[in-house]
Amino acid sequence: MDRRKFLSSPVTNAAAAADSAAEAQKRAYLTNAVLTNHEGKKVRFYDDLLKDKITIVNMMYAKCDGICPMVTSNLKRVYQGLKGRIGVDTFMYSITLKPEQDSPLALKRFAEMHYANLPGWQFLTGDPDEIETIRFRLFRWDHPGLDNDVDQHTGMVFLFNDNLSRNCKTPAMSSVRSLLETISWMDPIPVQAARARRDAAKLVAKFEREAAWAEGEKWAKGAVAIGR
């Protein structure tokens, strides 16, 4: 046996075991409930929807005449803001709070009505008790008075990066810019750092352009003065 392989195998095995234990813990906590999306496809909550992905989750219901339509419209702008990332490493899920009422077809109609029937964005329904577990695990305030009012959970967005086990909640009606900023916190540090470097380089270039422009203007004014 290769000596290097022999020496490293216990280490890699231990790391793999720790990884799978962490994964099992996440699967147990976030649940692996079987949900049905607006296309009628069955999906497992953790294994198919969250695992190895950056996810944006909100709760809604088709007949909600409160905040849900506005949230969906705001999230659509977020979708557009994330351009090529949705469906690649980032996914959006809208889970119904009223699964007894919302069939996959009702959710599909809701998505179509809001022009949100888009790739990488799924509307989900399922067993009411399992959806309640998901709702509490993702959105609860640890205050039964608030948690028992389902409408209290329609105004928030849950952000999650499975690979980093990083999550946060943010108001769904924040500005698109603010939401995109918060979603960017889900990215790994090197990606954030690269983005920061790129943004800084863009800023420096912008300042240099502005300085050159100001210099040019000054020169032009001087030239005009000499011409007089």
Binding site: D129, R140, D142, P144
Partner: protein, 343 residues
């Protein structure tokens, strides 16, 4: 004058018809129908035939009998049944593939004209005979809420000490303890008991850990009879079969939650309170059966604002008992030796 009289008559007819329709729809809306259980028809003879509707779509015809050991009933026949809309039916089909003494071969379709928790009325399609069905008391059902006041360690009353904000405010008594619901079913031969709630498990050196799950038999058996301890509070209600089924649904959901570790909160006392509240409120699904404290968890809430979280279930049950003392089934009224037979 005639025209005025006619208009009044028309108005009277419209209002009465509207009233009837409104009443019917309200009655129907109140609670979903549940045919599962044992029924007898009003046209019963001295030895009545009972119809036991099972959830799997079979109906067994039974006759009261003392001839069979360990059973109060003799099975006469089994056929199938079908309701057009199980929770709001208008038609009951009895399907006898081969036919028997009671039902001829084929399907007998009966129109359901009214229903409630404990009765329904059908009209026979051929002779228009009206039959009133009532639930037969082959079992008796009880739901008990119980809690015990225990001094807790780790929950301080001292306002100078730091308290975990999840646990509660610094003022008030640091007590809590077991709190649970117990479903009791008597069939005259055996007593079935199912429990769920919070109990304290001793871990390590006398450390009491609150756990949500099935209650250890030693503890729930102490509440099969009324306790004379000041620390104990108990509320025992007799339920109809339909009420039992409705509350038992809550039990099934939360039993699964406890087993699958999908309880709604990390704090066991919050889970216990939520489970007990939902169980109690399921009694009022079809109108106010018991008077309950409306927990809103805000500053004005009498229970929440005066007590730590561990004491909430106990105080909730105490309040329920206080408001519904007349409904409490005392030991003297508890039918321990009850036998079915009086249908």
């Amino acid at each position: 004058m005639k025209r005025v009289g006619f208009l009044y008559a028309l108005m009277f007819v419209c209002l009465s018809a509207g009233g009837v329709t409104y009443g019917q729809s309200e009655a129907r809306k109140a609670c979903p129908f549940n045919v599962v259980g044992t029924w007898r028809s009003e046209a019963a003879t001295e030895n009545p035939i009972l119809f036991r509707f099972a959830p799997d779509g079979t109906v067994t015809l039974l006759s009261a009998s003392t001839a069979i050991p360990n059973s109060d009933f003799e099975t006469l026949a089994a056929v199938s049944y079908k309701l057009d809309k199980p929770s709001a039916p208008t038609r009951l089909d009895i399907i006898a593939a081969r036919g028997n003494e009671v039902f001829g071969r084929g399907t007998t379709a009966m129109e359901i004209v009214e229903y409630g928790d404990d009765s329904f009325t059908t009209i026979h399609p051929v002779d228009g005979r009206r039959t009133h069905w009532v639930r037969a008391k082959t079992n008796r059902y009880f739901l008990t809420f119980a809690a015990r006041r225990t001094q807790l360690t780790g929950y301080s009353d001292d306002s100078s000490q730091k308290i975990d904000p999840k646990v509660g405010r610094p003022n008030g008594a640091a007590y809590g303890g077991p709190a649970f619901a117990m479903w009791t079913k008597l069939d005259g031969r055996k007593t079935e008991v199912e429990t769920l709630g919070l109990y304290l498990r001793t871990e390590g050196v006398g450390r009491m850990v609150p756990v949500v799950g099935a209650i250890p038999s030693g503890l729930y058996k102490e509440f099969l009879k009324e306790s004379d301890k000041d620390s104990d509070v108990m509320m025992r209600l007799e339920l109809s079969e339909a009420e039992f089924e409705r509350t038992h649904k809550v039990f099934k959901i939360w039993e699964k939650r406890a087993q699958d570790k999908t309880l709604l909160y990390d704090e066991p006392y919050l889970n216990a309170m939520e489970f007990l509240r939902r169980t109690a409120e399921s009694l009022n699904q079809c109108g106010e059966r018991v008077k309950l404290h409306k927990l809103d968890w805000l500053q004005n809430d009498e229970i929440v604002s005066r007590h730590h979280i561990p004491a909430h279930p106990l105080e909730y049950i105490r309040d329920m008992r206080k408001k519904n003392d007349k409904l409490h089934v005392t030991d003297a009224r508890f039918p321990a030796d009850w036998r079915p037979g009086q249908f």
